[in-house]
């Protein structure tokens, strides 16, 4: 792309990232519909679009646009209306800096590992805004739970990523994936487990979906939302799955390294990320929801010490066996 004018290149990159951001979450969502259905002995969507209901989520989107957008009379109007965007856009920025291969990357920045973590943490502010501005008891409880969950799980996640950065000696996702070797699967295994669990919790996916717990607090912070704004919160969740899965593939599964990598390249990253996304869906189907105190205990008593242990293991590995 070097023969293009700089501004054209920047615009093309933004458009490409936007396209990926609008397509990949739908693919994950459709996969969830189908995989979950078959795991439960159902067929899932079969009609929309003709072939195995492939257009179900497109139809859902069209439906959401045509629904009335209600702002409750007691709500803090502006905060309430802005919240879905604050929840959604951080994942778009995160997706931009995750490399699919050394050349296929939306925005190539030096400290991309740190940038991704920082940007992902912003999304929670959207949930807190939604919960507070709704002036609804269920929403406030949901937002408080979401905040508590993020505070507890951000930490093991950051420590796990720090461990990989330490092993690779770089904060750039491209360099980390290039430094990756197959035996890291074993060396970084505790960190990978910590990262996957913390990622599930950050996305508020089952078994960590107390902030949404439909049988207790209706739909948590999103209770008062309707129409397109509600759809944006759902899109943010699935975009989050895409971001976390690709990040896991790049950090722990070597990204684009694999047989025929000089030809396949970015396809390997997408394939590995897709498999991680299927695991995320699988965990939703197979685990019951945890209780709030169990969730906090898991983070502080198990995950944080495990992440610190991984950090020590990595540091000793780097210094003693260079």
């Amino acid at each position: 792309m070097s023969d293009l004018a700089p501004w054209v290149e920047v615009v093309l990159r933004a458009v490409a990232v936007l396209a990926a951001f609008l397509v990949l979450p739908l693919i994950v969502g459709q996969t969830e519909h189908k995989v979950m259905a078959h795991m439960q002995g159902r067929l899932g969507p079969m009609y929309a679009g003709g072939f195995h209901g492939w257009a179900q989520l497109v139809a859902d989107g069209v439906k959401f646009v045509q629904k009335e957008d209600i702002t409750p009379a007691r709500a803090d109007r502006w905060v309430f209306r802005l919240a879905p965007f604050v929840a959604l856009i951080p994942y778009l920025v995160a997706l931009a800096v995750i490399p699919l291969s050394p050349t296929v990357v939306g925005a190539d920045v030096d400290a991309s590992a740190v940038l991704v973590l920082a940007v992902i943490g912003v999304g929670i502010i959207g949930t807190l805004m939604a919960g507070w501005a709704s002036a609804n008891k269920y929403s406030l409880l949901g937002a408080m739970r979401a905040g508590a969950q993020l505070v507890s799980y951000e930490l093991p996640m950051v420590l796990a990523v720090a461990s990989v950065a330490l092993a690779a000696g770089s904060l750039s996702l491209v360099s980390i994936a290039e430094a990756w070797k197959p035996w890291w699967l074993l060396w970084q295994l505790p960190g990978a487990v910590v990262f996957l669990v913390a990622a599930l919790a950050e996305l508020q996916r089952p078994p960590f979906d107390m902030p949404l717990a439909d049988s207790e607090i209706v739909f948590g912070a999103f209770t008062e939302y309707t129409g397109l704004r509600f759809a944006f919160f759902l899109l943010a969740e699935y975009a989050g799955i895409v971001v976390m899965s690709l990040l896991f593939a790049v950090l722990y599964l070597g990204g684009w390294s694999g047989p025929f990598e000089q030809w396949l390249g970015w396809l390997w990253t997408v394939l590995k990320g897709f498999l991680v996304a299927v695991v995320v869906i699988w965990l939703r189907v197979s685990w019951p929801r945890m209780r709030e105190d169990q969730l906090q205990r898991l983070a502080w008593v198990w995950l944080v010490p495990m992440a610190l242990l991984q950090l020590a293991l990595t540091a000793v590995g780097v210094v003693v066996f260079p």
Partner: protein, 119 residues
């Protein structure tokens, strides 16, 4: 530097996306506000009480712990880039061991005092 320009462009694309979506919604979605529709949802009954209520924020201890560990994590990232330096490597390993050890001690203390329980 050009990488960060692209990040800014993506951010701009995100703002454009939500703006365009809201314009489309305004054109397509019906608008029929109604008093009952605009009341706060409380499982079918009229909302009870005022906006203010006393509650116990149970996780303030977790927030304190988080702040301490988050500062710790910030120091870990630069460490990751210098640990391979032959002059710094082993010494920094010991120093980081002490640093993390002190924090783990703090976590263990908090756990022993029963602060890591939600209820």
């Amino acid at each position: 530097m050009s990488g960060y320009v692209a990040v800014a462009a993506v951010l701009g694309a995100g703002v454009l996306l939500v703006t365009a979506a809201m314009v489309v919604r305004r054109l397509l979605a019906p608008r029929a506000p109604h008093a009952a529709k605009l009341t706060t949802y409380e499982s079918g009954v009229d909302p009870v009480g005022e906006g203010w209520a006393q509650t116990k924020v149970r996780y303030f201890v977790f927030s304190f712990l988080y702040v301490i560990f988050a500062v710790d994590a910030i120091y870990l990232f630069p460490w990751a880039t210098v640990i391979r330096d032959a002059d710094l490597g082993r010494a920094s390993l010991v120093e980081m061991g002490i640093f993390i050890g002190v924090i783990v001690l703090g976590l263990a203390h908090a756990g022993r005092r029963g602060l890591l329980r939600w209820v």
